[in-house]
Amino acid sequence: MYTPPLRALIDELGRLPGIGPKSAQRIAFHLLKVPIEDALRLSDAIVSVKERTTLCARCFNVAEGGELCDVCADDRREATTLCVVEDPRDIVAVERTQQFRGRYHALQGALNPLEGIGPEQLRIKELLVRIEEEGITEVILCTNPNLEGEATAMYLARLLNPFGVTVTRIASGLPVGGDLEYADELTLGRALEGRRLVEP
């Protein structure tokens, strides 16, 4: 039905997350139609991201070429505050808020006992080394507010206790623009717990 190169392309595209056989076929036929330069740009982008992107040696964010990531290399960041996230994608999310000026630590996942992911599979040892080496004074636990993320945060809080650093957990509550009526009990309960004084 397909020529071998086209078959190979459809098969490879079909392995990508969220792309089924039909979408893979559509993208493959689209790529057949575009000028060769456009297709090469895409293939070059894939090759260079694989060749040049590594994990930051200090915080495990994505970095270029075996060096420190942009955040770690930036001297203007506060060196004493550390925001612990699960994944480099979460660093992007926190950076977008423009509210955080410290550095990060990406654990590369969360404790997930059902999948067999324990503390050894995460970058927790590296985090503990950083606390002493870099003179960290506050650690913000910024893992996802789900069962695995909460368990990870509780575990880290217990582990960080002897270091004498301030350990904080991000607040959770209602999304801005949300609707109380549709809020679930757990989230609304947390929002009430975390209420704060309104300055007159």
Binding site: G116, I117, L147, D184
Partner: protein, 244 residues
Amino acid sequence: MSLFRDQGVVLRTYRLGEADRIVVLVTEHHGKVRAVAKGVRRTASKFGARLEPLSHVALLLWQGRSELDIINQAEVIDHFKTIREDLDRVTKGFSLLEVADQLAQERHADKRLYDMLVGALRALSNVERDPLLVAPAFFMKCLVLEGAGPVLDVCASCGEPESAVELVAFDLTEGGALCRRCRRGRPISPEALALVRKILGGSLAEVLANPPPACAEEVAALATDAMEVHLDRRLRSVRSVAGL
């Protein structure tokens, strides 16, 4: 193809596509159900935190032609906040979920398993009680439900009653306590044997109401190993967090 209502406990979830999740539940009337919660990962989702693992929920589900149902509505019966907020309790909660996930059959109602899971979660969420024996008791009760309950009153090998011989060992493959002559497997203390009998003999509420006795750890290890032998797989949720 129809809508149906049921109650269930969320066992685990998987990410699906951009913003959806597959939610695996053990329900009261439909056994294990795998259903899609559309848009649940968006911050403005109508489901919010309702479909997180551990939640006990009332659901309206749509059963279509595919294997996966679709969750239309979800209301919380209990989200077991006290379990979620305690690292010790939450890791024990994970092991309850893992075992329930292994034992529940898809679309095959098992009301007793469902009731036991809900009961175990309620016991685990009671902050005034020590959680140590909740999961081991659940494992033991599940083994009985599966027809693989331990033999405790006679030697599992020679059949001599306890009145005639002293039961000193416990062999997992033999599935019960053994006398001095037949002994294999691990040694078991008389206190631990008595505790297992109490758990399975209708005095579970009393056992959980009191502080765990000295042999509780021994019984916990035995229950975990017995469940692993029965399932023929390791309980990841117990082993991966052993050091926490």
